[in-house]
């Protein structure tokens, strides 16, 4: 059982990720954006973080950089369905800047679990 932080501005996405992860036996905490996520990560200990890229307040790439600076050993997985402008290179950027895994939306339960659980200790 792992404790996972899910950061996504879309409540339906958060809910579905939470649902599938909890079904796999994990504990899930939700955050609406990068600021929210970073504040939650400061007070609690997590095994893995799953973060969206395009978000208001604080987007995912900046969030990953800050998380990796503050918690270098914490695995971070970036998820994205592409940018609203059609740009699809965010995930590669996230990987280059420290993300341990990347997933394209919509993620399937199998890949989702494989990627997240591969990051667990």
């Amino acid at each position: 059982v792992a404790k996972i932080l899910v950061i996504d501005d879309d409540a339906m996405v958060r809910f579905s990720l939470k649902s599938v992860l909890e079904h796999a036996g994990h504990e899930v905490v939700e955050a609406e954006n990068g600021v929210d996520g970073l504040s939650k990560i400061t007070g609690q200990s997590f095994d893995v973080v799953v973060t969206d890229i395009i978000m208001p307040e604080k987007e995912g790439v900046g969030t990953i950089i800050e998380m990796k600076t503050r918690f270098p050993s914490l695995p971070v997985i970036a998820i994205s369905g592409g940018g609203p402008d059609g740009y699809t290179g965010y995930l590669e950027t996230a990987r280059a800047l420290g993300a341990d895994g990347i997933l394209e939306k919509p993620v399937t339960p199998e890949i989702r679990l494989d990627t997240v659980e591969a990051c667990l200790p």
């Binding site: 879309d10 339906m12 996405v13 809910f15 579905s16 990720l17 649902s19 599938v20 079904h23 395009i54 369905g81 592409g82 940018g83 609203p84 402008d85 059609g86 740009y87 699809t88 394209e104 939306k105 919509p106 993620v107 399937t108 339960p109 989702r112």
Partner: protein
């Protein structure tokens, strides 16, 4: 009366006087006659002299001057070939000679003028033709550019739509999966959720196509042997095609060295073949693949303005299916157009979408490739649909890629 009186002296003595008297009447008459004759003769002589002078003047002066006058009028009227006689050895002769020289110079000048005019007209025609060609070329480039811009904005739009759809699909795909795992086997709700999951997966495939379209696929342009690419494609086609379809090829008649991205080209061939296979599912069909050489002339350009005159390699993938109708034909370059249901293999739009991608990536390189003998590839697609029926409905040849 004339009177002569003379004394007569004999022995110095005056002997008398002789007086002779003459009447002058006769003499006067004779003198009058003589004078009359003289005057008449003189008058006649003068008349004769005047006549001779008139004739002489007419011949020497009047006639040449009249000829000059006529000559001047004719030259003034444009008859520059006109010349006057100039055989007199005097001032008028010299004048005639000068006139003739002037006329000759005028004639030469006019001829030169006419030639210059003709040359100018020819240059104007030549330059006009060049300008028209340049205008047409410009219009073509502008059209390509606009199309490119449209596709770019469409790509951006597609990416934006994909982003939103991916978020919406996420709960459908994940929650249906969770529900399916939670529910017992045989549950009606589980079956319903399986349908939802399948629908979500199909929608996801569609979104993937949208996303792929918005991505710039890297293209590697190299000198390639078209025959070799087609040969390799045919191996794959033969391995995957049902035995009910006969595969004919005619690719060894002409070695085509082209500049292309082999992978993209192979994808196009495979997609066209795949479309053909789908068109021939319910019948014993024939797939025909050929590589030929074609010469595009200026005249052909009216039909295929996108191709510059020159030698081209023509790749043709055709089948004996039912063919395409006009409506389908018009839309085959639309990136998302397909005649097939989602989930039923590669659609027509998908195959031709690759054509579009390839074409898009290859555009603008035509000039750089002009140095090659076979700088272009024109794939003559007489149908991802067939050629033996409805030939009129798709009689217009489609060449691809447009700007190779």
């Amino acid at each position: 009366v004339l009177k002569v009186v003379t004394p007569i002296n004999i022995a110095r003595r005056h002997a008398g006087t002789i007086q002779i008297e003459f009447t002058t009447e006769v003499v006067d008459a004779k003198i009058f006659d003589a004078v009359k004759i003289s005057i008449t003769s003189y008058a006649l002589l003068m008349i004769l002299f005047a006549a001779v002078m008139y004739w002489v003047l007419r011949v020497i002066v009047v006639r040449p001057v009249a000829a000059l006058n006529t000559g001047v009028k004719k030259v003034a009227a444009g008859d520059l070939e006109h010349r006057v006689e100039a055989d007199q050895d005097d001032e008028l002769g010299e004048l005639a000679l000068a006139f003739n020289q002037m006329a000759e110079e005028l004639r030469k000048s006019e001829r030169k003028l006419v030639e210059t005019n003709k040359s100018l007209e020819a240059k104007v025609v030549e330059r006009t033709t060049e300008l028209l060609a340049e205008i047409q070329e410009h219009a073509r480039v502008e059209k390509d550019l606009k199309r490119h811009q449209r596709m770019e904005s469409l790509a951006g739009l597609a990416g934006g739509i994909a982003h939103n759809l991916n978020n919406l699909l996420q709960p459908i795909i994940l929650l249906s999966a969770v529900g399916i795992e939670k529910l017992p086997k045989g549950s009606k709700l589980k079956e319903d959720l399986e349908v939802i999951r399948e629908a979500g997966n199909r929608a996801s495939e569609l979104v993937n196509r949208l996303t792929e379209f918005s991505r710039e696929n890297p293209v590697e342009m190299k000198r390639e042997n078209l025959n070799e690419i087609v040969r390799e494609s045919l191996q794959m086609i033969r391995a995957s095609f049902p035995s009910s379809i006969e595969i004919k090829d005619d690719i060894d008649g002409f070695e085509a060295e082209i500049t292309a991205d082999a992978t993209q080209l192979q994808t196009v061939i495979l997609n066209l073949a795949s479309n053909a296979a789908d068109a021939l599912t319910d019948m014993p069909g024939v797939l025909d693949v050929s590589v030929d050489r074609i010469d595009v002339t200026e005249i052909d350009r009216e039909e295929t303005p996108e191709l510059r005159p020159g030698e081209y390699a023509k790749l043709r993938v055709s089948d004996n299916g039912k063919g395409m109708d006009e409506k389908t034909m018009r839309r085959i370059f639309d990136p998302f157009f397909t005649t097939k249901d989602v989930g039923k293999g590669t659609g027509l739009g998908d195959g031709l979408w690759h054509r579009h991608q390839t074409r898009r990536c290859h555009s603008g390189r035509e000039r750089a490739r002009a140095r090659f003998d076979f700088r272009s590839l024109a794939a003559c697609c007489e149908g991802a649909g067939g050629r033996q029926t409805n030939s009129n409905s798709y009689g217009k040849r489609i060449t691809w890629p447009r700007s190779w």
